[in-house]
């Protein structure tokens, strides 16, 4: 993974010193609340419902075991001994004290971590596929490009005060898009042209929140040398022309929609004409330098399906289930990608205790070259596990609560922290996740239902990405009472779509039974091999709607 040199380290340390001074001046009342707000947000510090929240960047999801141990250690000494992995490859601490944050940042800097631009109206932490570099069908490893974008966007002098937050995600596989690039401000698909040159299909103006939209293609192919000048051009147009009169209409998606993609593209091209070929054009030497940080680990020459794996698969149904759901084909023979799920019943989705973080770090050291990934679905990934070690890893993962064999199933839900933590939330989301996990606890049934994305958000800001869940649940407030609106038909991959609202919202206690009715409609209507989303797309919303509201009729 990327290793800081003296310059990267110096920058992070200078940011810590700067924030220490800003915090001191705020606490001394030399900086007003209003002035401190964007400064602290650009350092990931929110003031939440009960306490501040610190969002720590995990650039493109890569984490060393030493970094994870440091996060665990920080959560113990400065917080309540747990953290929350978010959908955008960050770790959130829910209970730090403002006056401790500079010390936390100083400790993070010791392990090459920070909270730079994890919030605020600036370019946020860039995200990508959690299986980058190990999945067999990727065009190239996207991580060096993510690192290039990370450096370009860090303390970008022109774009620190944009109309709104700005999120970039990168994907490099044709078969799937695990980074949800089409619902980002800019989505980048790495591809090769006919000449074999590497470049990017650029998608712009996707996003969720109040006005959910799937992005549109602004360019089919931008050569990689031109990536940064093209990004500068897009964001410069947005910075000058994006709406600033209404924060709900300030995202780039609104500008793109208002102008139309043709007009937006022509403005970007006019801007780019001045930038293309200039100093920010990326030389090959830089790609080579960055790629050098993401070279393959020392894989052994191994065969697929070692004897201890095949025999265990035959004799243990539990292991076979875990293997089928929670592990993934690796590009190297004899290896497997393993997801450690953070979706154990009784624990909020994406939460990990300090003890679990230590255990995951140990597993990474023991089984996966000391590295982990953080996924968009709020799980952890060990990317390089020898197949002959899978049985041992499974036993250890079960013991740590990481082996819930439900990856991609109904109960592997994305869930925001909701009203239990977040000041913006209209409703709680964690109890809804718990209710669904308790109701749908029959693994055979879950397996029969197959892949279903269920996403829960506690408010329309959509941190839980409810719009792009095959089933989305949105908390709404009605005269001080919490209700839940259900949508179906959303998707976040290459076939991205925004879900449709089923109808009037439901009371909290009704949610599981409504989901059950939706599943019944699916099971009754599906053809063999048809996923929930496919059935929905074939039969439409009506039968689901009728079933969900049958009682009321």
């Amino acid at each position: 993974m990327y290793q800081y040199d003296a310059i990267d380290q110096q920058l992070v340390e200078e940011r810590v010193a700067q924030f220490r001074d800003q915090t001191r001046r705020y606490l001394n009342q030399e900086l007003s609340e209003q002035e401190f707000l964007p400064l602290r947000l650009q350092n990931g510090l929110y003031v939440q419902r009960y306490a501040p929240m610190l969002r720590i960047a995990i650039p493109y999801g890569m984490l060393s075991s030493a970094q994870l141990r440091k996060l665990a250690d920080i959560s113990c000494r400065y917080d309540r001994s747990y953290g929350h992995f978010s959908t955008r490859q960050n770790l959130q601490l829910n209970w730090p004290k403002i006056e401790d944050v500079p010390d936390i940042l100083a400790e993070l800097a010791e392990v090459q971590m920070h909270a730079v631009q994890t919030s605020g109206n600036c370019i946020r932490n860039t995200t990508t596929d959690q299986y980058a570099g190990v999945i067999s069908d990727e065009t190239v490893d996207p991580r060096p490009y993510c690192e290039l974008i990370r450096q370009w966007s860090t303390f970008h002098p022109e774009f620190a005060f944009l109309p709104r937050k700005f999120k970039i995600a990168v994907n490099a596989t044709e078969s799937s898009d695990r980074a949800a690039t089409q619902v980002h401000d800019i989505g980048l698909h790495i591809k090769k042209n006919e000449a074999g040159e590497i470049g990017f299909k650029v998608i712009v103006g996707g996003g969720l929140g109040r006005t959910p939209m799937v992005g549109v293609t602004i360019s089919e192919f931008i050569p990689r040398v031109d990536l940064l000048t093209y990004l500068d051009a897009i964001i410069r147009v947005y910075n000058q022309q994006g709406r600033r009169d209404n924060k709900y209409k300030a995202r780039i998606k609104i500008l793109v929609k208002a102008l139309g993609i043709e007009e937006f593209r022509s403005r970007v091209d006019a801007e780019w004409a001045h930038l293309k070929g200039k100093e920010s054009t990326v030389p090959m030497s830089e790609f080579e330098r960055l790629q050098g940080f993401f070279s393959e680990p020392n894989y052994d020459a191994l065969e697929n399906n070692p004897a201890n794996l095949t025999s265990k698969l035959a004799e243990s149904a539990g292991f076979a289930r875990w293997f089928e759901r929670n592990t993934f084909e690796h590009k190297k023979a004899g290896y497997r990608i393993v997801t450690l799920t953070l979706k154990k019943a009784g624990q909020a989705p994406g939460d990990a205790t300090a003890e679990q973080m230590h255990k995951a770090a140990n597993l990474a050291d023991q089984f996966s070259f000391g590295e982990l990934r953080v996924s968009h679905e709020q799980n952890l990934v060990l990317a390089d596990v020898r197949q002959e070690e899978l049985v041992n890893l499974w036993e250890a993962a079960k013991e740590a609560g990481f082996a819930t064999p439900t990856l991609g199933l109904l109960t592997d839900m994305i869930c925001c922290p909701g009203g239990d933590f977040c000041a913006l939330a209209n409703a709680k989301s964690i109890p809804i996740a718990a209710q669904i996990q308790e109701t749908f606890n029959d693994l055979d049934y879950l397996y029969d239902l197959g892949n279903i994305d269920l996403n829960i958000s506690g408010c329309m800001n959509a941190c839980g990405h409810h719009h792009v869940g095959n089933i989305g649940i949105l908390g709404v407030d009605k005269k001080g009472e919490e209700f839940y609106q259900i949508s179906i038909g959303g998707a976040s991959g290459h076939d991205a779509s925004i879900g449709k609202i089923l109808g009037p919202s439901f009371a909290q206690e009704e949610i599981s039974s409504v989901i059950q009715k939706l599943m019944d409609v699916y099971v009754a209507n599906r053809t063999e091999e048809e996923r929930f989303i496919d059935t929905y797309r074939r039969v439409g919303i009506t039968p689901f709607k009728e079933a969900a509201y049958a009682k009321a009729n």
């Binding site: 002035e35 002098p157 022109e158 620190a160 005060f161 940064l228 600033r244 100093e279 030389p283």
Partner: protein, 158 residues
């Protein structure tokens, strides 16, 4: 007249920023750019012009900017980042060499960014302690991106 920070020092302000279109224009005035453009035949010599957020810079591309000692950029709120692009475009696209002055509601903690996009003078609101602001008058010692002072990104300097 209140002082300002210019080229890293606290100095006297010798120009008069005309925010109100009715104010009398003199050769020390910094006049709204749109007003100057429509009245330039009659308005006489001025110290410079100032841009309102939303103006953009395209409308200045055929104007000889070397006639101005100063171009002001107004920040209606310190979170309104349009002026960052304007300063950069004045320097890099319109090749303006004179003083670029930040006006209005910006804060000392933004000085690092403002310097990098080409501002070199800062007319703070009156409650700002300029001595304290001067402490923040420096960007970080290193930067990944190119900027107005050095257009080379770090990958050309590393």
């Amino acid at each position: 007249m209140p002082k300002l920070i210019k080229n890293g020092e606290i100095v006297d302000n010798t120009y008069n920023w005309l925010q109100d279109a009715e104010q009398t224009v003199t050769q020390d005035s910094i006049v709204a750019a749109q007003k100057w453009l429509s009245e330039k035949e009659t308005i006489g010599n001025v110290a410079g012009i100032w841009l309102e957020a939303g103006d953009g810079v395209e409308f200045l591309q055929d104007v000889d900017l070397s006639q101005f000692d100063v171009i002001g950029v107004h920040f209606p709120a310190f979170t309104d980042g349009r002026g960052f692009s304007y300063a950069r475009l004045l320097r890099e696209r319109l090749n303006y060499q004179g003083e670029i002055r930040a006006l209005g509601h910006f804060i000392p903690d933004q000085l690092g960014y403002l310097l990098r996009v080409g501002f070199n003078s800062f007319q703070f609101s009156e409650e700002v302690d300029l001595e304290k602001a001067l402490d923040l008058h420096k960007p970080f010692s290193i930067a990944y991106q190119g900027d107005v002072a050095d257009p080379r990104p770090l990958f050309l300097r590393r």
